[in-house]
Structures are given as C-alpha cells and as structure tokens.
Symmetry: D2
Subunit: 311 residues, 4 copies
C-alpha cells in the first residue's frame, strides 16, 4: 500500500504536544515524527505517547529527533516551533523572533518533504504562514480563526444553555484581536442569529477576542482548546472529510501572499473558499481585514529584512 499518512510535528512545546497527542490518538496516522531543539524533549515525549498508545491499543511508528534533517517524507508538517507571547512582549517582537525561525525552516524542510502540506500554528499565526510561504514557495495554511470559530460557538451555546451542535457559523479575518465575527453565517437552532435570543453581538465579540488572554493569565497558555481544534483541521485534510472550517489559504494581495481566514472546505484538496457566498457586509469586513493585515505585514517585513541584513 502506498500513500499511508505520515505527519511531522515541528515544535514539541505545550501546544505542539497537545496537537500531536490528539492527532495520534485519533488513530489514522501510520507514522509521526517529533522535532524540537530542546535536547531529549522529543524522545521523552515519545515515551509518554507510547505509554498512552499502549493503553489505547494503537500502533503508530514514531521518530523523535533533535535533528531537523531527520524530518523527511512527511505528508503533513505541523509547525508550532517558536516563542510564545509573554507579558510585556509586543506582537512585533514576536513577529521578528518567530519569522527568523520560519525563514530557517523554509530553507530546510521542503527539500526532504516534497508535496507536503504545511500547517502553521506558531503566532502570529497568519503572518508566520505568509512568511513561510514567501520563503519556501510551499503551500501552507494558517489554522487561523477556526479557534475563534469554536470559541464563538461555545460562548453562545453556554449563554443560551443549548448543546454546542445547535450553534453554527464562523469567525474570519486575522487570528487574534482583529478577528471578524461573520454574523451572516451564524445560526442558533437553525435560525439566523438575533440578539433577542439573549446574547448580544458585543458580548460575543468581546469573548472571542479576550478569552485567550484570560486563559493565558491564569493557566500560562492555551492548550486544550487550540490543541483539539487544530488536530481536527489536520484530520479533515488527512482523511478528506470536506469539512468547512475557518482557516487561511495563501492568496495574492497586491505584491504579497497573505493569509486571512474565511470559511473554506478542508479535504484532501483544500478549498474552495466560501467567501463569495457570504453576505456583502461580512465580505466587506474581510476585505478591510486583508488591507490591515497587508499594511502591518509590510511594515513587519521591512523591519525583518533590515534585521536579517544586519547579520
């Protein structure tokens, strides 16, 4: 049998571990690879995973390494390497530090992993996807606003005391505080969202934008939410589920490839995007989001290039 599923996890920190654990326990991957720069970490994580697999009665081949050259032949490469945001750190600082890591990975991973799909997790996630795309010329998606999408649904479901699967709809735009709730897509019990149900738009937007920060403040990071949600994106691609998810695929915007989340079909082929089927207001907000992204991204790129040339 050719074409079994082989997945590489680049970065085995808290979030990388959670994504890898969920993905592996889903049982469809024949082989996984763990890479991290921290000595012994991938190998010790391998032991933990083997103990869990023993309990679940699953067999998966595992390679754990501190050597990036060992990562070869992957169908899917999940990148969560890099620094997490800490108190007092500006988003631009994070951009510069992590962009340098992306440029390094972009120069090394594609040679040994031809045809792989790259899935970006490192923050700022959409810009890191764009940087990786720019320097690697590979197809890379940003896990983008699928996380916000699930937070939005979870909040409305809890507020209205209904099961989560009775809330539908998406959040798009840039991941983080500039995310755009796509109000025309949201339904509750199959009917369009209305504030008369007992929850206001302001509350929903507030929650979607602030809950991550709140969790980080108390728990030191978000793991279970994004870890689960991102493993579902990986599965939708690996198993060709054709699920609509709010992720960002590369798109040309003026002179750059950028990543902005819109509802998109995720299967063994990624797309089409459902952007053209959204209502006018939501499309206008997404367009504004792209412009903002582009402007900040260009500024960041300029600084990045200056920094790189200095070395």
């Amino acid at each position: 049998m050719i074409n079994m599923t082989k997945i590489a996890f680049i970065g085995i920190g808290k979030i990388g571990q959670t994504i890898a654990f969920n993905t592996i326990m889903d049982g469809y991957a024949e082989e996984v690879m763990f890479y991290d720069i921290i000595p012994e970490l991938p190998e010790k994580f391998e032991h933990e995973i083997r103990h869990a697999l023993a309990s679940k009665r699953l067999h998966v081949d595992i390679l754990a390494t501190n050597n990036l050259d060992d990562i070869a032949g992957a169908d899917i490469v999940v990148i969560s390497a890099g620094k997490p945001r800490k108190a007092g750190m500006s988003r631009r600082d994070l951009f510069l530090d992590n962009a340098k890591i992306m440029i390094d990975l972009a120069s090394k991973l594609p040679k040994k992993n031809p045809g792989a799909l790259y899935i970006m997790v490192t923050n700022p996630v959409d810009m890191m996807a764009s940087v990786f795309a720019k320097y690697s010329k590979e197809f890379v998606i940003s896990t983008g606003d699928q996380v916000e999408t699930m937070r939005m649904r979870a909040y409305i479901a809890k507020k209205l005391k209904i099961p989560i699967y009775k809330v539908n709809g998406f959040v798009g735009g840039e991941h983080g505080e500039d995310a755009v709730v796509l109000w025309s897509t949201i339904t509750v019990n199959g009917r369009p969202f209305s504030e008369s149900l007992g929850v206001t738009k302001a509350e929903v937007e507030d929650y979607v934008k602030k809950i991550a920060g709140e969790i980080i403040r108390v728990m030191g990071g978000t793991t279970w939410g994004p870890g689960t949600i991102i493993s579902e994106i990986i599965r939708a691609y690996a198993l060709n589920e054709n699920k609509v998810m709010s992720i960002a695929i590369p798109r040309q915007f003026e002179d750059e490839i950028i990543h902005i989340s819109v509802p998109t079909v995720v299967g063994n082929t990624i797309g089409p995007s459902l952007e053209s089927l959204l209502d006018e207001k939501d499309r206008w907000n997404l367009m504004a989001s792209m412009k903002d992204f582009y402007n900040v991204y260009k500024e960041n790129l300029k600084t990045l290039e200056t920094v790189i040339q200095q070395h």
Copy 2:
C-alpha cells in the same frame, strides 16, 4: 438540558434497519423511534438493537411502534418506507406506489413533529423528496447522490490502489442512472483527475451507474453501502459537522419544488450549495439534469393525480 437529539425512522426494512443501526451505534442520539406497518417488526428490531447497545455500553431511549401517531417530537425524520424496486418493475410503477405512501406520511407526520428535518431514502429518492415537500410544505432533503459520490471514490481508489481518502470529488444530478459525475471536482492525491492515471471516465461512469444493480442481482438489495453513507448524512446534520456532501435540497424549478443533488454544506443548517463554484461544464450538466427531472416528474405527477382522483 433542552434540545437533545431525537430521531424517527419511518420504515424498518433492510435499508431502514441498516441506517438506524449505524446511526444509533454512533452514540449521539438520546432517543430513537422505529415505525413500520409490519406487525411486531419495530418491537423485535428494538430487542436486537438493545442487545447490540448492551455490548457497546451505550444508552439510548427507544420507542418501537406500528402506530404512526406515536411518532412525535422528532428532530429528524428518516423516511425509508415503501416498496423496493423488484425485477420487472418500471420506475414509474415504483413512483406511483411510493408517492401514495409519501402523501399519506406528509399528511400525518408534520403535525406531531414541528421543526423536524425530513431525510428521504425511499426510491425514486429525489422524486419522493419532491412529492413529500409538495404535500407537506416541510423542509426535506434527498440523500441523493452522496451514495454515488462514495461509489465513484471507492472505484477510483480500488483501481489506482490508493487509500480512499486520497480521492476527492462529487457526483450530482438525479440519483440513479442519470447521475452526473462532476469531473471538475475530482482530484486524486490532491491533483485534478486525469485518465492518464490509469482509469477512464467511461469506466467510472459505468461503475457508478451499474454497481447498484449488480449488487441487487446477487444480494437482493443494497444495504451496507447506502446504510453507512446515509447515516453519515444524518450525523453531519445532527452534530453540525459542516461537511460537504452531494445531497438535494428543495429548489424551485418553474412551478415545482424539485430535488437534484449538488455538493452542499451539511451542518445544523443545510447549505449553502457549492453549485455556483463549479466549472461551467458541470453546471451545464446539472442544469440539463434538472430539466430532465422536471419533465419526468411532471408526467409522473399527472399520472399520480389521476390515480388519486379515481379513488
């Protein structure tokens, strides 16, 4: 907790049993109802299901009945009641016999099941959906060509010796021998379909149109394939999976509501259809399919009305 999932199965024949079994073993339904006109059949099927649930350690409330009035409060109503096609039977004969059953169900089910989604399985499935919609004014989907979609993928995967999740794409149009392979949507290993891969379009179309007949000839009916596929449609709706599936939702065509399958997002809300995102040729073929459907349907309706008035 309000809004738990309650599913009614109208018709507990071979295919109805297989759909119900798969749906129940998925474990998300809190309550199911079985209805059939055959005395004792729903009740004995209930015993079989309870034995299976005991082994799977699942709890589901079950109501089994020969009285249609007992079917109340369902979120989803799956209709497989009616006659299956037998040797020597014309499709129009099947239409008349089963349409009369649909008219009867349309007059009785909606009163006690407000807001339910109706899922049609009885053949000719698209026309039965249209008849049920016409007489009930309810929202009813036809499971349509999701079955052909999976048969197409299975055939290509087997022929090319690749895992099934490496073949994507859809079959649309009317379920049965007039199904339309939507070639622009088909990809293999992420690349567009090409006959140079080792399988011709003619072969694929031949398989999709004839395999059901071949299975019926030897096994007396198709059960495991459609039963599994249709239970996945039910789940996509019940659990709001937002999966793209080739099913038919009601659409106005001239003076009638008709059902023709196109790739459609199936979640707690059904839609949007991705028809406008298909290439021109596939859209043209779907349009032709609709016209054919409409013409045959109108003829059938005329005969049906004559027959009804005679009674």
Copy 3:
C-alpha cells in the same frame, strides 16, 4: 512492521456480513478476506463494504473469493458458514449438516493459516467448535453465551429503566435453551441482584432463552445483536483488551474436547477462566451443563461417524 491484523470471514450470509461489517468499521484490521460458496456473493459484498469504507474514510485491504484455498495467512478466522436453523428442523439435523462442513474446513484451513485463532459462530455453536477442534487440532473458541450475557443485561436494564452499563454479570453453559444464568455474578447499580428490584429470575431466564426464537419468527434471523456482540469478541482478542466475556475455550471432559461458556479473560491471550472464582451453586450448574453437553455431543458424534462412513 510485522504482525498487522488479518481476519478471514468464512461464510458471508446475514450473520457473517453483520460481523464482518462491524469488525471492519472498527478500523483496526489491515486486511480482511471474505469466503462463501455462493458465486459472486463475496465479491458483491466487497463492493458494499468499499462504499461504506469510502464514507467512513477507512482503508482496509480486501480479498473476496469463492475459493477456500485463497484464505491464507489469517490471524483470526471467523466461521459462520453452514445452515441456519429453520422451522421444523431438529437441532440434531443442524448438527449433522454443519458438522460435515466443519470437518471439511478443519481439513483445509489450518495448513494455510498457521497460528490463527478460530472463532466459531455457526450453530449449534459450542458443538461446532468442539467438532472443529477435534478434527483440526487447532485452538478454537465458541462465541457461546456472550450473546445471552448481553441479552440478560439488556432485559434487566430495560425492565428496571436504568442504563445498560449499570447491570453487570454473565450467562454461561451451552448457548441456547440450556444456558445457565450465573446469578452470583449479576449486579445492578453495583449491588447483588435481588428480585425485590422489580424483576424475577424466572422472567430473566425466560427472556434469555426465548428472545432469539421470537426475533427469528418475525425477522427471519438474529443479526444486529449477535453481529455486534461477536465483533466485540474479535476486537477484544485482536486489540488485547483483556475483557471478561462469557465464551467457551476448549477443555478436556472425559475423552473429548468440549466447549462450555464461562466468564473468561479475552485478550491477545485467551484466559484465564474465572470459573474457580464463581460461587458454588453457579459452578455446580456449569458442571451439570458440561455433562449434558457431553452426553448429547457423544450421541451426535456417533451418528455423525455413521453418516460419514456411509459415504
């Protein structure tokens, strides 16, 4: 990777299909083989299974054949070939017809499937296991009373309106009307069974012994219950789940190997039996069951040998 799981299904009738379908959809088998004497049946069943696998996004290698010689290299061989009991047929008639099939299989299957576990489903199931063991010298288990065990739990749970996983305990002895409810093992909500809960021992025994006949009368056969339960036995072995199940392993009784169900640990190794941990009364009833089995079995064997010599 060596040692992947390969399962052969000998007999693709109603029950064989249901067991195979459940086992395959569990997703752990890398390869399955279907054998039946009916022309085209295994091959058409393969198509049905491929369509279901396409929908479930599972990959399994499948071999379908009418040639028993093709069945080779299996880890597990599930035997459901033979005649089902029909109205007016005595159990001894069934014994003779199916025993001849077992002798034939016993002479052919072991050569090409070294080290396989044989799992008997054909009725009378315990005696068929003993006949297969006698003529093949292979390790064969009878699915025995795991079916009765689940029917007992399902009945008590329904009667007391509690979830199925709150009823524990086992039925042992010979599968069928001589089954022995092992009362000392039965608990409800963690407490020993007592008639004061609202269900009598007589009712439970009556249900366990008669429900199969009732289902057969209305539905023509039992499929969903046993098919699910037996696929769970297969899984417990294949995935080394170490679950206690009421199945029969070969045991010497006077001059014969016989099969009588007792609670037994089913993992990659089968056993130990928990018989010695049961209370005295239950052990006494099991012993009586063995003697009865032995006597009838010896009589059947005598007739069988006479019939064989006549040919």
Copy 4:
C-alpha cells in the same frame, strides 16, 4: 432517565487536566465537576474544555468551582489534588503533605457524594488511597500499577518491534520503584515471555522503575501516559467494560486497610481480583510487597498522627 454518569475531578493540575480532558472527550459523561484551590483555575479550564467540546461536537454539563461544597452527587470522584514530587523531596515528606489533604477531603466529600467510587491519583498513590479509605470509610481504588503495566508493554513492544497489542501481561505491587513485574502473566504474540525473544527481565524492570523519573527530569512531570491510562480505568468502571487492569482495591492486612495492585476485573462492580490465579512466585512477590507496604505505611501513619496532634 436516572443514573447518568457524573464525574468530579478534585485537583486540576497538569495530571488532573489530562485525565479530565481524556475522560470528557470520550463522550460518555453527562456532567463533570472541576475543583481546585487555585483561584480561577477550574473556571478557565472549563473554557478550554468548552472550546475543545465545540470542535468535537460533544455536549457535557460542566461545573467549575473553588468551593469543595459544590462537589455533590458524583458517581465517580477522581482525586489528584496535592503536591507533586520535586527534586530533593523525600517520599515521606510527600506522604505527610498529601495525607493531610486526604484527611481533609475524607471528612468533606462523602457527605455530598453518597455511593461514589473514589479513584486515587495523588502520590504516593497507594498510601493515599489507604489514608483516604481509613479516614472516610469509603470504597477507594488506587490507579496503582496500571501505569507500570502499560510502560512494561510499551517497552517490550518497542524493543521487539511488534505492535503493542501483541504484548500482554501485568505489573503489580506498589506503584513506583517497588513495583513487581508479574512475569507469569506476560506473553508476546500469545506465547510466554522468554529472554530469548531479545529483551531481558532486567531491562524491563529497569525501564518500568526508571522511565517516570527520566520523563520528569526532562518534561517536568508525566502527563500524557498516566493521563490516558487513568482515564481508561475511569471508563472501564463507568461503562462496565469488565477489563482486567492492575489496580489496587482496599484489602485488610493485619490492622489496616492497604492498597497493592493486582490484576483485577474493572466493571461497574470492581473485582474479582485474579491474584489466586497467578503462579506461586508472582503471588509470593506480591505478598512480600504487601508486607513492605504495611511496614512503611505504619511508620508513616505514626508520624502523620504525631503531626496532626501537634496542631
């Protein structure tokens, strides 16, 4: 429907979170409760879990609290509260600190959770179970050596390059460095363990006793392995799976209730233990393990009582 499954998690640290996450994502619990003394932690963890549930389309009722009095009506109480072992800390120090927590929990939890099963996770886990049993008079199990059992199987499978489900057998005794590999129970590919396979007993014992320390040194704690394994113990009880697992149930030893792991059937009723079915040598080692446990435990209890009286 009465008797739905309600599970309380006392302690929401790293291991408590991992157990709760795995248990909840299994989908069978209708309600869960999170308690921790750290302000906001249970509530923020609830948000993370809700985001994950949204993605998995699961509905579970959640209560998050810093007030132990809110924990009421649980069927299962999982206790992981307490201090984890740190560098330079003696096991006795850990005993004293955590035993005081257990005494406090023992005085508060039983009143509001009648009939609950208590599952101990806090280390030293077997002694904490015994302390909790002594002070609460409730039925409490220690998750004991099921973790070592899976580590043993994982090690042998990796060393011999075979799938994990081809290795069977158990580790018993006290959890930690005094664990006892029950060699008579271990099989590989269905045959008894033998060093000639390519792995020595010394290697296996070394791995089982030291791997936890190695993981803690690099990763700061063990989470994925025990978190998965313990959630499977919870499920075996909640869903009445009747799986044989190496856990410790309360047993009288001289004047105390103690906890020493032996292979035990875990279903809705816990037991019987399979100790009497083990070979003589393994039983002798378990007996020695009990005596050691008793002696150390009595010493610890004496110190504990002195410390308590001083307050």
